[in-house]
Amino acid sequence: MDKPIRRVAIFGMLLFFGLMIQVNYVQGSEAESLRNDPNNARQYQNVFNSPRGQITAGGEVLASSSLTGKDNPKYGRTYKDGLVFSPVTGYFNGGASKVELAYNSLLGGTDKRITHQRWFDTFIGKKAEGANVELALDPDAQRKAYQLLRNGTTRRAGAAVIDIKTGAVKVLSSSSSFDPNLVAPQTGEKGVKVLEQLDGQRGVIQPLIDNGMSQTFPPGSSFKAVVAAMALDELGMSSSSTVNTGPLILPESGNPLPNSHDGGSCAGSAPLLGAFAESCNTSFARIALDAGIQKLHDESSKFGFNRHWSIEPLVKPAESDVPLSYVDANGNKVTTGRDGTARSGIGQENVRATPLQMAMVAAAVANDGKIMQPYLVQKVTTKDQKTLYEVDPKVFSEAMKSGSASQLRDMMRAVVNEGTAKNLIGQNIAGKTGTAEQGAGLPNARWFVGFSPIQNPRYAFAVVTEGSGDGASGAGPIAASIMAQVRRK
C-alpha cells in the first residue's frame, strides 16, 4: 500500500501547488486590476481611513480632517467659511475638485514624495499622514470679495486678484458659491445627494462652477486693453496716435455700431489714450477691422486666450476665447465675418473671458508685458514641517512689449482720472471698465479690470458682476474695496 499512498501524497502536493499558483496569480498579477475593479468599494473608502492634510492660507486653517467616531467614514472634512473659499479649496468626499483634487495624493498621504520619505514608517506599518497644503490666497481679501460680490448682484459675479511679480492668486471669488461642508465625507449619502443636486442645476446659477476662473463672460470694453495692446505692439501706434472716434457703419449689415456717448473724445477723433479712457467703441472696432480677426485672435492668444491650460494639476480654468469661427445651434460652422470682427474688437460677438483671464491681461500691462503663471498653492509641507513642494514662479507668456505696457498703464490710469471710471478717483486703482451686453433680456456683464497701486503696481485684478448699469459703478467700487484690503497686507 506504500506506492499508492506515495502517489496520493504527491497528488495532495499538486493540489497545494495549484493553490499556490492561483494565490500568486491573484495577489501578484491580478491585484492591481482587482483594486481598480469598478465594483470594488474599497478604492473609494480607503481615502476616509487616514486623516487628510490641512489646507491653509495666511495662517488660517481652511480645510481640516477630524474623526467622525464612526468606522466608515473614519474621518470627515471640515471647511471654514466654505462658501467663501470653495472656489479654491473645492470639495472632497471621495471625489474631489480644485485644490482638493489637484493635491489629492499629497493631502491623502499616498504620494510617493511622502511614502518615500517615510519608508520606515510604512515598513513598520504606520500609515503616512497627509501633507498640509498652503494656499497663496489672502483670506481676508477673499472674504471681503465674497461679501461684496454677493451684495453686488443677485446673479453671477466673480473676481480674481493676482500678484503680478509671482502669479500668486490672492483672490479668486465667486457668487454664487456652495458650501463644501454639505458634501464632505461625514454627510455620507446625504452629501452625495446634495452634490448631485448642485451638479444637476441647470440655468444661470450653477454653484459648482465658480465665476472666478471656471465661467466665461463677454468681456465687453475691458477687452479693449487687448485690442490696444495689439495697436501699440503690432500696428505701430502709440497712445498719442490719433484715431477716428466717429460713427461706424458695420461693413456687412450696414447697421451702425454706436458709441456710448458721442461727446468728449468720442466726438470724431482723439488720441488713442482718449479713445481708451472714454471707451469709444468705433475706434476699437476700426482697429479690429484693420487688423483682421486672425490677428486679434493671435494677439489675445499671447495673453492666454484660446487655449486650455492648468493652474494646478487637473485644475483647468475655463477657456477664454476670441473665436475665428463658432458652431451654431444647428451644428453649422460659422466663420466670424467683418461685422463679427468689429464687434469682437469691443469684446462682444463671441468673445468670452474669465475674470482670471482678464486679471492676467491687466497683469501683463502692470508687469511690463510679462504674465507670470498664476498658481493657487504656495507650498506643501509634511506634518513635521518638511517642505515637499514649493512653488517656483514661472513666466506664463510675454504678452506685449515693455514700452507698450508702459503706455497702456498710462491709458488705464487715464480711465480713472479722466475717463469712464472717474467715480474711482482716490482709490489707488487704475484699469478699464467694461459693460457687455449678454443678449436680449439678459443683464449686462459689468467689468472692472486693472491694477493697483497706481504707481509701482503690484496686483492685477478683474471683477465682473451681472446686472443693469455699467462696469464703472457695477464692478469698480467692488474692485476698489477688494484692492484696499489686498494692499493692507
Partner: protein, 528 residues
C-alpha cells in the same frame, strides 16, 4: 525487496524529537503572540490586552498539549502539534482582530435575536472552542494507547475502530442526515449543514468526515484483496464485481443525496474525493479512480441538468463570470445573465412594489435563477488589497468581506498578510498533510495505513476545496478552513484528527517490539 514503509522505518533512528517539537512549538507561540501584538500596535499603538487573554490562553493550552504528548506519545512526529498550534493561533489572532471591528455588529445582531455565528467574529467563543479542541486532543492522546496491544484492558487505539467498521459507518450517515431533521436542523447561508443543540450550533459533517475515513478504511481493508484481483477486463480497465461496486454506488448516491438536500457541494466533493483516493490506496488500481471520476462527472452533469438544481449551474457560472452577478444577478434559461443589483431599474421597480428582497423578486419575474457573487468578489478584492506583502495585521479592512471570519478567513489573511502570508499558511497545511502521509507510509498495519492516509488526504482536499473556492481556482462551495475558521465543530474535529495522527506517528516511529527471546528464530512471537 523491502517495502517503502520498511525502508522508512529502517531510516528512522527511533529518536525522540521532543526538543525539536518544543522549539517549533515555541516558534508557533511567538508567531501567535506577535500577531496579537501587531494587531494592537497597528490599531491603538499599544500591546493589546487580548494578547494576554487570548494569546496567553493559547500558549497555556499548547504547553499542556505538549506535556501530554511528551508523556504519552514521546516518539510522535515533532511537527504536527506545532503546526496545528500555529494555524489555530493565527486564526485566533485574525478572529480577535475581526472581533474588534465587528463586535458592535454582533451586539446588534444579538439584540435582533439572530445567532452570533452567522453574523460576526467572536474571539471569546473561538478561544473556548480552542480550549475544548485541545482538551479533546489531550484526551484522545491519553485514551488511545499502544496500537501494538489492542487487547490490553481498558485500551482504545485507532486500531480498535476497525472492529466497529459498520457501526461507525452508520454513525457517519446519521451525523450527515441530522441537519435535515426538522426541528434541530438549520439552514445557514444557503447550506443546511447545521444542527442546534441548546445554545450551540454544531456542524455534524465535520465529525462525520472522521467517521467516514474510519469506515472506508475498515471496509476497504476487508475487501481490498477481492477488489484488486477479481473482475472482468474490458480494454485497459478491469471492471469490479457488482458486489464490490455496490457500496461505492451507495456512497456515490449518498454524496449526491447530501448535495441535493443540503445544497452542500463542498462536503459532497470532499467525501467523494476521499472515497476515491482511499479506494485507490487500498486496491492500487487506477481503474477505480477512473470509474470514480466518471461517476462524479455523471453526477455533476445530471445535477446541472436538473431544473431544481440551478444552484449548481449557477455556482459554475458565477465562478467563470462573476461580474454580472455582483450584488445580484439573474440567470435566465437562455444562459444570459441579467444584473438585478440595486443600481438597476429592475431592482428599483421591485423595491417600489414593496418587495423585501427586490433582487430576487425581479429575477423571479424574469423567470430566472437569482444569485449574488458579491461574497466571492469581495473576497477577491480583499486579496487584491493585500497584494504581495499585505496591509499588515490590523491595518486592512477584512470586515468588508462577508463571512470574513469563517468561510472567507483565508481571504482575510490574504488581505492583511499578503501573498507572503498565504504561501506560509499553505506550506503549513502542506507540511501537516505530508507528515500525515509519512505516518501512513511508516505505519505497520494496513488498516492504520489507510486510516492515516485518508485522514491526511481529507485535510489536503478540504483545504483545496475551500481555498480554491475563495481564490476562484474552482467554483466556490462552503467548507471550513481547518483550524482557521471560526467554529467549534471544525476545531474539535481537526484537533481530534491531529491527535490521531500524533498517536499513529508515535506508534510508527517507536522502536519495534523486542522479541521475547532471541535464542533462535523459531522462538519469535510477533503480534503483527
Amino acid at each position: 525487496m523491502t517495502s517503502l514503509g520498511e525502508q522508512i522505518r529502517a531510516r528512522i533512528p527511533y529518536q525522540r524529537r521532543n526538543a525539536a517539537s518544543l522549539a517549533l512549538l515555541a516558534f508557533a507561540m511567538i508567531l501567535t503572540l506577535s500577531a496579537f501584538a501587531e494587531v494592537g500596535l497597528a490599531r491603538d499603538g499599544t500591546i493589546p490586552s487580548g494578547l494576554f487573554v487570548y494569546g496567553g490562553g493559547l500558549v497555556v493550552l499548547a504547553v499542556v498539549a505538549y506535556v501530554v504528548q511528551l508523556k504519552y506519545a514521546p516518539y510522535a512526529d515533532p511537527l504536527l502539534l506545532p503546526l496545528a498550534v500555529a494555524l489555530n493561533g493565527l486564526g485566533l489572532a485574525m478572529i480577535y482582530r475581526l472581533d474588534l471591528d465587528t463586535s458592535r455588529d454582533r451586539k446588534v445582531a444579538e439584540m435582533a435575536g439572530k445567532h452570533f455565528l452567522k453574523d460576526a467574529a467572536d474571539v471569546p467563543g473561538q478561544l473556548m472552542w480552542t480550549f475544548v479542541g485541545i482538551a479533546l486532543f489531550v484526551a484522545a492522546i491519553m485514551i488511545m494507547r499502544d496500537t501494538t496491544r489492542p487487547d490490553a484492558p481498558l485500551s482504545f487505539t485507532p486500531k480498535t475502530a476497525q472492529r466497529y467498521t459498520y457501526l461507525i459507518g452508520l454513525t457517519a450517515i446519521v451525523l450527515l442526515l441530522l441537519p435535515i431533521v426538522p426541528g434541530i436542523g438549520a439552514s445557514i447561508n444557503g447550506a443546511r449543514v447545521w444542527i442546534h443543540i441548546g445554545p450551540f450550533s454544531v456542524q455534524p459533517g465535520e465529525f462525520a468526515k472522521l467517521f467516514l475515513v474510519v469506515f472506508f478504511a475498515g471496509y476497504l481493508v476487508n475487501k481490498r484483496q477481492a477488489m484488486s484481483l477479481i473482475g472482468k477486463k474490458v480494454g485497459p480497465l478491469s471492471l469490479p464485481r457488482a458486489r464490490d461496486l455496490g457500496p461505492i454506488l451507495v456512497i456515490w448516491f449518498f454524496s449526491l443525496g447530501v448535495l441535493f438536500m443540503q445544497k452542500d457541494l463542498g462536503t459532497a466533493l470532499l467525501y467523494f474525493g476521499l472515497f476515491v483516493s482511499m479506494l485507490y490506496i487500498a486496491t492500487q488500481r487506477v481503474s477505480w479512480v477512473v470509474i470514480g471520476l466518471g461517476l462524479l462527472a455523471v453526477g455533476v452533469f445530471v445535477a446541472t441538468q436538473l431544473p431544481f438544481m440551478g444552484h449548481v449551474n449557477q455556482r459554475i457560472d458565477i465562478w467563470q463570470n462573476p461580474t454580472p452577478y455582483y450584488d445580484g444577478g439573474c440567470l435566465l434559461d437562455s444562459g444570459k445573465v441579467v444584473p438585478v443589483n440595486p443600481n438597476t431599474d429592475l431592482f428599483k421597480a421591485a423595491k417600489a412594489a414593496g418587495s423585501a428582497f427586490p433582487g430576487q423578486s425581479a429575477c423571479i419575474k424574469l423567470g430566472g435563477e437569482y444569485s449574488d457573487s458579491a461574497q466571492l468578489l469581495k473576497g477577491m478584492f480583499a486579496l487584491g488589497e493585500g497584494g504581495v506583502l499585505g496591509t499588515g495585521l490590523g491595518q486592512g479592512q477584512p470586515w468588508q468581506t462577508p463571512l470574513s471570519f469563517s468561510d472567507f478567513i483565508f481571504d482575510s489573511m490574504g488581505e492583511e498578510l499578503g501573498l507572503t502570508g498565504l504561501m506560509a499558511l499553505l506550506l503549513i497545511y502542506a507540511l501537516i498533510v505530508q507528515r500525515g502521509m509519512k505516518t501512513a507510509v511508516a505505519a505497520r498495519d494496513p488498516f492504520l495505513k489507510l486510516f492515516a492516509g485518508g485522514v491526511s488526504f481529507v485535510v489536503a482536499l478540504q483545504v483545496f476545496v475551500i481555498v480554491g473556492g475563495v481564490t476562484k481556482l474552482i467554483p466556490l462551495t462552503g467548507l471550513t478552513t481547518p483550524f482557521l475558521s471560526q467554529g467549534g465543530s471544525s476545531l474539535m474535529a481537526n484537533w481530534i484528527l491531529i491527535a490521531i495522527l500524533v498517536r499513529m506517528s508515535h506508534d510508527a516511529r517507536k522502536p519495534a517490539p523486542q522479541s521475547i527471546q532471541d535464542e533462535g528464530m523459531t522462538q519469535i512471537v510477533s503480534t503483527r
